[in-house]
Subunit: 156 residues, 2 copies
């Protein structure tokens, strides 16, 4: 791993560290993909708190912002963060990915497409502010997350 | 910190953990905000590699996806991840934020607005595929990152 420490370097410094090599090294890939999933989980949690649990005040603009962030992450090409060499934890950088993620290309394609479709639909529905429709699209997005976790992530 | 381990829980599990309390606890806030910055740095790095360094092939669709992800993160309301109690590292969850981030509200507002404006402009410009304009908007976004880092992040 180059000098990267999660979240502690500026984008400019990161960009500089990537100057000689466009593709993040395996440890960086694990860090970046976990960051993407973690940030999505925050946004999923907010939508759930607003739309389902009622533990946050209903705020259509915030739901939309959260849904946009999830969709943009889903569309960001995270597949590039699963190159060979990232199948296993690297030192303290842990991954819970299963080996099947790197061999079952057809299955991975299916769950990836399902997630992308669900996330983009959630972002579309979020524009309307229609709470019932948002709850439905949110549940479908959660199911699509689970579809991948069940097959390609070690049980916690 | 509830049972959260960075990137290792499903969105659904996270959402469940948030059921009793909409607002992530201080340690989770630090983890989530660092995840957001880290994921943005990956996307900034890709744009730099494509538009400036030429270490990744020029791909307007990928530039647009990366810029959308950065803008959606900028618009996601990350200010909610800087509540009192998150000024300092918590156990192994390190933060490099400076105390001024929690007292200089006017200054923080300025850098946050500047970043949001620059990130949204980058996303707009990325739609055009105009490389020269993208480079300019990318540089402005990098400057806006640096504007916050210089004032509110400990020197590395």
């Amino acid at each position: 791993m180059r000098k990267l420490v999660l979240g502690s370097m500026s984008a400019l410094l990161i960009a500089t560290s990537l100057q000689a090599n466009a593709q993040p090294d395996p440890e960086e890939q694990i860090i970046f993909r976990k960051a993407g999933y973690s940030f999505m989980s925050w946004n999923m949690g907010k939508i759930k708190a607003m739309a389902i649990d009622g533990t946050m005040a209903w705020d259509p603009a915030q739901v939309q912002a959260a849904a946009n962030s999830i969709a943009a992450t889903a569309n960001s090409g995270m597949g590039a963060l699963f190159t060979p060499g990232t199948e296993k934890s690297i030192g303290d950088t842990k991954t819970n990915v299963r080996p099947e993620m790197f061999t079952d290309m057809e299955g991975v394609g299916k769950v990836a497409m399902a997630f992308s479709k669900a996330a983009n639909e959630l972002a579309e529905v979020a524009k309307t502010g229609d709470k019932a429709a948002i709850i439905k699209a949110f549940a479908a997005t959660g199911d699509s997350c689970k579809g991948c976790h069940d097959k390609y992530r070690e049980k916690m």
